[in-house]
Amino acid sequence: MSANGHKSAAVQLDDVAFSYGEATFRFDAAFPAGAITAVMGPSGSGKSTLLNLVAGFEAPQSGRVLIDGVDVSKAPPAARPVSMVFQENNLFSHLSVERNVGLGRSPSLKLTADDRAAISAALERTGLAGKQKRLPRELSGGERQRVALARVLVRDRPVLLLDEPFASLGPALRADMLDLVADLHGEKGMTVLFVTHQPQDAERIADHVVFLEDGAIAATGPARDFFAGTGPEAFQRYIGTQDGRSRDVARKPT
């Protein structure tokens, strides 16, 4: 899958158990290296929890998190070969675009000439050229997420986790951002886990789908199967395709 020889790493959750208050989760899944996998499911089904376990923001109560075959269950977030883009708060609001991206290279912001070149290139690549000195509040919502993606580029980790990063953007902008992710994936070939509520987003860029229900994985498979209407029944119910879209139209008051 790796597009042009870049490193990529498989992500595996080996019988991972986790609980938070009343909710309990049990994940056993493998995400193929170098592919984009959409993680879908109803609210509270554990999508974000799954990503947090991979990123190291949560620790499994039992089971193992493996990345590229290495057990990272005990590793702190920064030590894992993972970058994550959140829905919001991806940037430090008092630091310029350039410095926010620079933090992906050095957590003390001591940057070499190479680092600076990489930062410029990443900003160029994500369409932010000329905005180096801006503060996050001077950017649009889409631009802010572009900065986060630029940081992903300079960090250059083999796994990318996207936790609904474009959920608050309008449809056209969201499509642009998805295309940018797909392009970056094409260049870098990283393993992408992508949480989304929007079937059309998953359909647009995902190779695989993992469908969660009640804190466990209910179904997995190639994206084309899921969206061809031949996917698992629970998934069909979730996106409402069985008689869904036509029913909505029929219900509209005249």
Binding site: Y20, N52, G56, A59, P76, P77, F92
Partner: protein
Amino acid sequence: MHSFRRNDSRITLGVLALAFIATLIGGALVGLLAAGAGDLSGAVSAFDPYLLRVARFTLWQAALSTLLSVLPALFVARALSRHPRFFGRTLILQLFAVPLALPALVAALGVLALYGRAGYFAGILSSATGSDWPGIYGLSGILVAHVFFNLPLATRLFLEALQAVPTDQWRLASQLGMGPAATFRLIEGPALRQALPGIAGLVFMLCITSFTIVLTLGGGPAASTLEVAIYQALRFDFDPARAVALTALQIALTAVVVTLLARLGADMTGESSLSVAPRRYTTPSVAGTAFDAALIVAALAFVAGPMLATVAAGLQADLARLVGEASVQKAALTSILLAFVSAVLAAVLSLALAMARRALALARRNGPRSMLEFFTDTGAGFVLVVPPIVIGAGWFLALRHLGSVFGAAPVMVAAVNAVMAMPFAIRAVRPAYDAASERHERLAAQLGIAGWNRFRLIDWPVLRRPLATAFAFAMALSLGDLGVIALFGSDSMQTLPYLLLARMGSYRTADAAGLALILGLVCLLLVFAADRLGKERTA
């Protein structure tokens, strides 16, 4: 939401801060216990009629002060809340915040300048009573000064309670045609009643631990409280046994009051910011308006009087000569240095505790709060229970065996004032830190930004302002303080309040008034700066 179990340097810092506070308070208690054990029979026999009389007076003046502050405050607050828009209302409320910022010593001088034997009202009061006005020393002086401090405080707190009533209730009241009596019975009364125990408890606590006012206005053994008696036992009679007995009683008393207060749900650090006044939908009658106006004017006159007297008396002093005096300059420099160190320490302590609390809260997620987290959280406020005089007394007794008591003065003054200002500093720092952490915690963990890098790049830019607020407030508190310095001060180690007290004692009233004006202005400026910095805080 997410767990960070790894060793967090923030927790280490919090533990260090707690250790510092514990050493300061624990050392004092050890000093007291050692002195008490050394002279057990002396300490026991110190529980004599004099001590009981002092204890009774302490409670009595506090109860009267509370009654005289809280009862009028109820009605002043109601008057202010019934008229949410009138010319000068904001100014009055700002003026009511001033006593909070004013050093007690300055207020005491203001009261004397107005009602003292040679005060501005002495002439009127002499002709009114038909005899020479003896001045306002003793219980009456203490009460006037306590009401000056606490009436505005209680008024603001009651007003806050009234303004917290949802606007819809006022709309409903006007729609249902409720008159003033019904409104009071059904809406204002319940809101005030709910706030009453907490506010009365807070005022009672402040009056029971009041030192400076009783020292300067009490005027003798007939009107002495436990704290002043501790000071006298150590500084004048040098009777450690009696000091130990008095301190034990004071600690027991405050412990009881604070336990009761905690039951009543009072907030020990009393917030002073007011929300926007909601609109009222009824027009009060002419008589009602006149009554409210009279109340507000009376309260205003009572609060503004001593402030104006401080300014007037201060301006009569030869300020140019005062400022030029070597002893004044030295005391001012000492004050500023000590207050600066104390304020830095208070800001550092509050930051360390806020960081540790947040780190511990994140680590435990939904689990039960650990003892350590409790101490970095609510526990930190408990230092207010231990009066500075008690800490000072304990160390005073401990240090007299170890060498020069007065040599330790700078350390004691700076450390105790820092710890006393810390709960207020936390109020400024913690919300800002928690909000910043809420946004940045996962990102910092992901990017591996920790320790010094995190403080330098992530936390400092966000916390600069709240830390400055905490610093300015702590500095004002420390500058105006006459607690520990009263015990530890000497001719070679004087702060401005100490010098002011000395000038009062040698009847150089004009000098004292001039110094009070300078001190009061500096403290006010600092507190307003703290307020400004706090309000302009950007998220």
